[in-house]
């Protein structure tokens, strides 16, 4: 996965360390070797993406892909999505929602807010691993702005 001539960093916001580990394993198995930076809560993830001042200046020239879980301990993933998509510097960063919820309303809301992909984590591991691997394959051909 490449940005215009630069390596893309994957920002993984996932409160469950087990999930984070499983996602990483399966993304790697798909041959994606980009750097993955994990965050277990929303605030630290936002600190990284939008900066402590939340202006988004820090990400002006970085190539990020955000893997976002909706259920976080300190804030809702939807709030994070809204903040990223409403910031002029980060609004074009691809955001992949990867969560356990398959609530219709929730999915619609995420796309309304500008989510690029919404994937429900299957409980069954084979499907889970398969979904993540396909996501990884998708990443490998994706062009990031």
């Amino acid at each position: 996965m490449k940005g215009t001539g630069k390596e893309v960093t994957i920002v993984m916001v996932e409160d469950d360390e087990g999930h984070a580990r499983l996602i990483e394993k399966n993304v790697r198995r798909a041959g994606v070797n980009n750097e993955i930076i994990p965050f277990t809560d929303g605030n630290s993830a936002l600190d990284f993406v939008l900066g402590k001042d939340r202006t988004g200046e820090t990400s002006k020239n970085s190539y990020l892909l955000i893997l976002l879980d909706l259920n976080l301990p300190d804030m809702s993933g939807i709030d994070i999505l809204a903040k990223i998509k409403s910031n002029p510097h980060t609004k074009r960063l691809p955001v992949v929602i990867l969560t356990t919820t398959d609530d219709e309303g929730e999915i619609q809301r995420c796309y309304d807010l500008g989510a690029n992909v919404y994937i429900t984590k299957p409980v069954e591991y084979d499907s889970f691993a398969n979904a993540i691997r396909q996501l990884g394959l998708f990443f490998s051909v994706m062009q990031i702005p």
Binding site: H19, L22, N43, D74, E124, Y125
Partner: protein
């Protein structure tokens, strides 16, 4: 309402009956008095008839006597004329008097003697006149002179005089009684009229009261209607909120239970993968393994297996914790509430005392202010609510300033009280104000241990008491938790 109506009907009926009875009494007494007065009138008439009859009879007798004497002295026929006419009218007047006294005991008893005396006197007169007519005038005069006739006449006069005197007395008495009866009639009429006026006034006041009661009841019904609508809206809102909460709860529970399940299943599969890597190494039985195979097996044994086991263990533990938390909330929801009058100040002071040590460590202070309203509710629930709120205030105190907690309470409307628990802690972001009450959700910096249960528990406890809890907060300044509780739990329907 019903009692008012029946008592109104009863008192109106009583009033009408009393009025009717009074009217009947007046009519009855009038009829009786009229009869009475007719009787007195008859009495007057008959007394008058007796008096005039007696007078007439006496004067006729005297006329006859005068005529007889004139004739005896003059022997002229023109003196006989008045005598004869007197005799003629005498019999009629005698009959008139007889009729008048008939039926009147005091007069009737003397009448036969009067009758006999009159007859005797007439016989005397006729005898002397006859003698004079035969030319024996001297003899006749002699008889007259002897005075036998005079005796008879004085007897007649006496009886007739008695009649006149007695009839005069009777007349006076009858007149007196009649005027007495009239006075009585007047009195009765006046009293009756007064009574009717009183009854009327009573009836009017009853009707007036009834109308006033009716209009009051109507306005009461109107206000009740209005407040009923308000209460229905309130309840509907409560129901909608409760329903949303249940949905949210179900959503959270399924998500939060599913998350560790994904881990368990995932790492079980990873375990299997690792096992596949280890198996050739363990089961090689002397076969030569490739570098890769050995490396894979070592990595699996060293990293993958322990990692998978750690995650599976932590996930099952997490699931257990979640299930226990849900159980706890569900148990609290089912616990039988025991409403009792509570001294809110005492309860708050006890709760404050239990965190005094931690507050002192933070150089903090707790202020329980003002007058506390009365409340009847479940004590244990209230203790848990304030205990949790105070614990949170301590836990999320701002490191920049000494902690200050304030509690104020006041009545809110007739049925609720409002308790505000304020702190100057780190505060809560606006978008998280609702989230903090959700199960397993927390907000802000995750630098304190916690499971996200406390406030969810507080909210479910508060709602069990028929109240609600909300929060106002400004990040970095502090938070105010606002409790709205029914002032009397026993009056809350459905608890």
């Amino acid at each position: 309402m019903f009692s008012t109506r029946s008592s109104f009907a009863r008192s109106t009926l009583i009033m009408i009956s009393i009025g009717g009875l009074i009217l009947l009494g007046i009519v009855g007494s009038t009829i009786w008095l009229v009869q009475q007065s007719r009787h007195y009138f008859d009495e007057v008439v008959s007394a008058r008839a007796i008096r005039s009859g007696s007078t007439d009879l006496l004067s006729t007798l005297q006329d006859a006597e005068t005529g007889q004497r004139g004739y005896l002295l003059s022997q002229e026929d023109n003196f006989l004329e008045p005598y004869k006419s007197a005799l003629e009218s005498l019999s009629a007047r005698r009959d008139t008097l007889r009729r008048s006294v008939t039926g009147r005991q005091s007069y009737e008893k003397d009448f036969p003697r009067l009758d006999q005396l009159i007859t005797q006197r007439l016989d005397d007169l006729n005898h002397t006149v006859d003698l004079a007519m035969e030319g024996k005038a001297a003899e006749a005069i002699a008889i007259t002179r002897r005075g036998a006739g005079e005796q008879t006449m004085s007897g007649i006069r006496e009886i007739l005089n008695n009649y006149m005197v007695a009839s005069e007395i009777d007349l006076q008495a009858a007149l007196d009684e009649q005027s007495e009866a009239l006075a009585t009639l007047q009195r009765a009429t006046i009293i009756g009229a007064g009574a009717i006026v009183l009854v009327l006034a009573g009836a009017l006041s009853v009707i007036y009261q009834h109308i006033r009661d009716l209009s009051r009841a109507r306005s009461e019904v109107e206000t009740l209607n209005a407040s009923l609508e308000e209460r229905v809206n309130e309840r509907t809102e409560d129901l909608i909120r409760a329903n949303q909460e249940i949905q949210r709860f179900a959503y959270i529970v399924t998500h939060d239970l599913r998350a560790p399940l994904v881990n368990i299943m995932g790492f079980t599969s990873e375990l299997e993968t690792s096992l596949n890597a280890i198996q050739p190494y363990v089961l090689s039985e002397g076969e030569i393994l490739s570098e890769d195979e050995i490396k894979l097996a070592r990595v699996a044994a060293e990293e993958d297996l322990p990692e998978a086991i750690t995650f599976i263990r932590s996930s099952t533990k997490k699931m257990d914790g979640l299930i226990n938390a849900i159980l706890k909330i569900s148990r609290d929801g089912r616990r039988q509430l025991k409403p009792e009058p509570i001294d809110l100040r005492e309860l708050l002071e006890t709760s404050a005392a239990s965190i005094q040590h931690q507050v002192a460590d933070l150089d903090g202070s707790i202020e329980i202010g003002g007058r506390m309203p009365k409340i009847t509710t479940d004590k244990l629930s209230l203790e848990q609510i304030f205990g949790n709120l105070f614990d949170n205030a301590v836990k999320y105190a701002s490191p920049d300033r000494p902690l200050h907690i304030e509690v104020h309470a006041r009545p809110q409307g007739p049925r609720f009280i409002r308790v505000e628990v304020s702190d100057n802690g780190r505060g809560i972001a606006e978008e998280d104000l609702e989230r903090i009450f959700e199960l397993f959700r927390r907000s802000g910096q995750q630098d304190k241990p916690g499971e996200g249960i406390g406030l969810a528990h507080v909210r479910s406890l508060t709602r069990n008491l028929g109240g609600d809890i909300t929060v106002q907060s400004e990040i970095g300044k502090g938070s105010t938790f606002v409790l709205r509780l029914p002032s009397d739990l026993t009056k809350v329907a459905g608890v």
